[in-house]
Structures are given as C-alpha cells and as structure tokens.
C-alpha cells in the first residue's frame, strides 16, 4: 500500500512540471507581454522596459522559468492588480466560501444521487428508473447557471422563501473564526448566524449539486446493473443468503468502486461549476475572484487561481487513486 502511494505520488510530478511550463508560457504569450498587460495599453515603452527589468523579463528564458518555479514553490504569486493585496491572502480569504459551497453541494449530490441510482437499477424499467434516467440526461444539457437562475427566480424572488444572494444577512454581525459561515456560527454559539448562513447556502448548493448529481446517478445505476449480473451475486443468492445481505455486502459494496472514482473526478467539475454558480448568487468565493479577475484582466490573480485549481485537481486525482487501491486490492498490483 505504501509503495503504491509513493509510486502514484511520484507520477504526479511530471504532470505538475508540464503544468508549470504551460502556465509560464501562458503568461509569456499575453498580448504585448506581461508588462503591457500589467501597465495597460497606454504605457510608454520606457516604462515597459523598466518593468521588464524589474520583473527579470530581460533575462534568459530558463532563468526566468527557474525564478518563476522558485516563487511558486514559496507561495509568492505577487499582488492582485485590483486590490493590491498579495494574491495568496486574497485566495485564503475567499477559499473557505467556495469549499463550504462545494462540500455541501457534493454531499447533496452523493446523498441523493447514490440512493436514486441504486433504486433506479433495482427497479429497472420502472417509473422511477425512467424518470431518473430522463432527468439526468436532460440535466447534462442544462447550464448550471441557468439552474441557479431558475431556483433563484422561483424560491427567492417569487416565493420569497430563501435569500437570493450572498452568504449572510448584512444585518447579522457574525464572528469569523474558520471562514466557514455555518461552522463559525455553531462554534461561537451565534445560532441565528448559523441558521441564516444555512438558508443562504441552500439554493447555490442545490444548483451546484446538479452537475455531479447527474453523473453520480448514471454511474451508480450502471454499476449496480453490472454487479447484479456477476457470478458472485448469483452464487450468493443461490446459497440462500438473505436478500438484504446480498444487496448490502455484495451488490452495493462492489458497485461503489466506479462510483467513488466518479465522485472524485466530479470535484474538478465542481470547481468550474462554482465559478458560474458563485456569479449567479454573488457568493464571494474563489469563483467570484476568477470572474472579477477576468473582467479586470488581473493576470497575477488568474495565474495563481489557475495553478491552485490545477493543484487541487491533481491532488484530488491522487486521493481518488489511493482510495481506489484501498477499496479494491487488485489495483495495487498493477
């Protein structure tokens, strides 16, 4: 197990290495170079040259790249052009909001998606099966920001049941400890803040959960159907095992294997979906940082965010592979 983990971690290094080159190249290929991008189109050539010198852009490429790697490794991503704060501090401030949203969305998707997919497979061809398959097919074609807008329109604007945007009512003066609004409320005993944060969380989390949910339902259904046809299930049934034991120990457990990979891979999609969902609900997390960075051409911020997203994604893939090896011992040998 340890050997597998180490080997798999070593395999992630070339990926990160190529990624760093791509991001480095991305910044060099900005129209007019990074200095023009930073100073704007109206900057004088002298100013650009001076900034190029300060940023080391007049040195050989390999030297620049090594410097870039060194700065990335020490977490120095420069300052945001919008707020003038260090990019890393900005990200640290907004990250909990996105994590909170993504975790709750993933919990909703897993909590509803696996039972739905399982039931659809168990009662194959029934009403529930057709309904789940149909909805998950249509779901693929609905942009997540439209799902968000619809939810907002119905439940916040028309019915007025839930708040339309933000993370907390501005009237509530909440104490911040972890940055997770609900958790903070619970920790400090400010239960009204925790409740308000929960209400704010519902619509965006449900909207965002629609992305992984469709995939989880489909994979769970397919996996359960596959396992139901396996010899060992027939054997278990034939030797007279209680149907409930067969379902729990033989069917569900083996079907979870492909499902766990899907869940892991969905986390990357969640990040991308969060960018859109956060814009709909004015959430103020990483997605909002990206959207604002795009609008204002804040390249240092975008570079750091893209690297961070890639890092999260690579680490998630790594964890998925390792968890895969824990669930299925056959993987370790390969």
């Amino acid at each position: 197990m340890l050997r597998f983990t180490v080997r798999r971690m070593l395999q992630a290094i070339p990926t990160l290495f190529i990624l760093s080159i791509l991001i480095f190249a991305w910044l060099r290929s900005l129209p007019g170079g990074p200095a023009t991008a930073l100073l704007g189109d109206k900057a004088t050539p002298e100013k650009i040259e001076a900034l190029n010198h300060v940023m080391g852009l007049d040195r050989p490429l390999w030297e620049q790249y090594l410097g870039f790697l060194g700065r990335m490794a020490t977490g120095d991503f420069g300052n945001s052009l919008i707020s003038a704060d260090p990019v890393l501090a900005e990200i640290g401030r907004c990250f909990p909001a996105t994590i909170e949203l993504s975790i709750v969305a993933l919990l909703i998707a897993v909590g509803a998606g696996i039972p739905l997919g399982y039931l659809a497979a168990r009662y194959r061809g029934g009403v529930l099966d057709n309904l789940t398959v149909g909805v998950s097919l249509i779901g693929v074609a609905v942009p997540v920001f439209f799902t968000g807008l619809m939810l907002k329109y119905v439940f916040a604007i028309q019915l007025g049941w839930l708040p339309p945007s933000g993370r907390l009512d501005p009237q509530i003066d909440a104490t911040h400890i972890t940055g997770f609004a609900v958790l903070d409320g619970l920790l400090t005993g400010e239960y009204d803040a925790a409740w308000d944060a929960t209400l704010h969380l519902i619509l965006p989390a449900v909207a965002l959960s629609s992305i992984p949910m469709a995939a989880i339902v489909r994979i769970t259904r397919a996996a359960v159907l596959d396992v139901l046809n396996e010899d060992y299930v027939r054997t278990a049934n034939a030797k007279g095992l209680d149907a409930r034991t067969v379902r729990g120990r033989h069917v569900l457990r083996n079907a979870m294997l492909p499902v766990s990979t899907t869940v892991g891979l969905q986390i990357g999609l969640l990040l991308a979906g969060a960018v859109l969902t956060e814009k709909v609900f004015n959430w103020g997390g990483i997605g909002s940082l990206i959207a604002q960075g795009i609008e204002r051409h804040d390249y240092p911020r975008l570079q750091a965010l893209i690297l961070l997203a890639a890092l999260v994604y690579v680490v998630m893939n790594l964890l998925v592979d390792i968890s895969y090896a824990i669930i299925d011992p056959r993987v370790r040998v390969r």
């Binding site: 990926t15 190529i18 991008a37 942009p143 439209f146 604007i157 990357g268 991308a272 795009i294 994604y313």
Partner: protein, 310 residues
C-alpha cells in the same frame, strides 16, 4: 399468431444480416437507431434546429440588429415591452424584436458549435493519429501533453484560454472551446488506432506488403470513424454549453447587438427581475439543442457498440 410469425421472420432476417457481408456495421447501426425513441427524439430536435437555422432569415419578420422606436419609447430600466402587433415576443432590453433575434441567433450558435467542433476534431485527430500511427517516443510525448490538458476541468481550461485575449469575440470563444476538445479527440483516435494495430486485417495488409501510410489511411482511419463521429456529435452539445458559460462570464463578444443565444442569455441577466422571459427563451433554445445533440450522440454510441450487435 401473426405476432409470432413476424417475430420469427425478424429473427431470420437478423441471422441473415449477421451472415451476409453486405450488411455493414453502419447500416446495422442505422437500423437500430431507427427503432430507438431516444435516437429519433435527438434526430428530430437536431433536424428542427438545422432547418430553423437554414430558414431563419425567411421566417424572421425583422432584422436582428434593428432597434425599433415603438419598442424603445416604452423601454425603461424597470419595464421591458411585452408582446404586441408585429412583435410576437415583445422587445429585448435594447429595443430589438426578441422573436427575430431568437430565430436568427440559431445561425450564430450553429456557427460557433460547428467551428469549435471541427477545429477541435481536426487538431485532435492530427495529434492522436500521429501518436497512434508512429507510436514510440512520439506517442509518449504527445500523450503526456494531452493527458495534462485532459486532467484539467474543461470549463476551467476554456476560461483560462479565453481570458488570454484582451478583447473577447466570437473567435476567441471558438478557439477556447475547440482547444478543450482537442485532447479528447486525440486520446480517442490514438486509442482506437492502437487497438487496431494487432488486428488481423492490419496484420494481413502488412504481410501482403501494403505501405504503412496506406494501412493508416485505408484501414485504420475508416475503422476509427465511428467513435470519432459519436464524440463529434457530443462535442457539438458541449461546445454550445461551454460557449454560453464563457459568454455568461463576460468572455464573449462585447457587442450587445450581436444575436447569439449564449450572449443573449448573458446580456439578459441584468434584467432578470424585470423580465425573466428575456433569459428563459435563449436558455430553453440552448437546452433543447444541446439535448438534441446529446441524445443523438448517446444513441449513436449505443448503436455502434459492438457489444450491442445482435
């Protein structure tokens, strides 16, 4: 009784089909698709969309860019004129005829989707084909790069690429969306070609002295066409959705007169409280068309899958 008879006839037909050389994988797949309700629904939606795009200029009562004084006079930040004579769906936020814009926008949406898919497919097939045909270190290097691109969530990649351009336009959206499709096609074609390397017909061709280039173009590529075509159909749907997402984030064409569903949806956001139908119509158009291509692609995949051959 008749049911039993037709049932038997079909079974015999099927047997004959399997035995005869004339019935190819394609006609077999086509036959199966004609019976699948999913395939028919998808095909009808796609056909309707294509017809609509083709005849939009004939159906649309007005141009997409003309702003009408009779609509503009009632237009305020908190009021957008609804349906009235000559304007079946009313105005949009700029005093255009919403109905005509929705119709004409189908052409732009189709252009973005087709251009992005064709570019992505062409470059992806070039990379995947080279890797699959040459193998060795070329394959290793190319696939490492492809895997890195593939390991990145596609929408985030598209956003990063689109953000590169200081000014968004239809073409920057097409470039971003097609770049994301490249690794998918590359991986697919390479996999399909590698799988054929040790197939009997390729070995036979090699043994009879057919030139390697001819083997690739005459045997391997045509046999890889199925999965590539399936992926292309699905990519059309993905492209429409990704282009809409980029527009929503402000990475599309900034010209507010431009009629394209993703842009119309993005530009209508600010008026969502006042006039939600401005967002609904283009969104529903996007969903229906994306659904059509998805259903068609998925049913094609199913029909071409040799496991389902009977």
């Amino acid at each position: 009784m008749t049911e039993m008879l037709t049932g038997r006839k079909e079974r015999i037909d099927r047997l004959a089909g399997d035995a005869s050389v004339g019935r190819s994988l394609w006609s077999e797949a086509f036959r199966r698709m004609r019976r699948s309700p999913v395939a028919i629904t998808g095909a009808v939606l796609v056909a309707a969309f294509l017809l609509l795009a083709a005849f939009a200029p004939l159906i649309a009562p007005h141009s997409a860019t003309e702003r009408f004084p009779q609509l503009l006079q009632d237009l305020r930040a908190d009021h957008i004129p609804g349906a009235q004579p000559g304007f079946p769906l009313g105005s949009d936020q700029l005093g255009h005829d919403l109905f005509s814009r929705l119709l004409l926008a189908s052409q732009q949406t189709l252009l973005v989707a087709v251009a992005a898919t064709v570019f992505g497919m062409a470059v992806g097939m070039l990379i995947g084909g080279t890797a699959g045909a040459l193998g060795g270190w070329v394959d290793n290097v190319l696939m490492r790069l492809v895997d890195v691109l593939l390991s990145f969530p596609s929408l985030l990649l598209a956003i990063s690429i689109a953000a590169l351009f200081s000014q968004g336009s239809q073409w920057t959206v097409i470039i971003a969306v097609s770049t994301v499709a490249v690794p998918v096609f590359a991986r697919l074609l390479r996999g399909s070609m590698l799988a054929q390397r040790h197939s009997e017909y390729v070995l036979a061709a090699r043994a009879t002295g057919v030139k390697p280039a001819a083997i690739v173009f005459r045997h391997m590529l045509p046999n890889s066409l199925g999965p590539v075509l399936v992926q292309a159909t699905l990519t059309l749907a993905i492209s429409i959705l990704e282009a809409a997402a980029l527009s929503y984030l402000g990475l599309g064409d900034p010209n507010p007169d431009r009629a394209e569903w993703g842009l119309m949806l993005a530009n209508a956001q600010r008026y969502f409280d006042v006039s939600p139908q401005l967002s609904f119509y283009p969104a529903i158009a996007i969903i229906v068309v994306a659904l059509g291509f998805t259903l068609l692609g998925e049913s094609m995949r199913e029909a071409l899958d040799p496991k389902n051959r009977r």
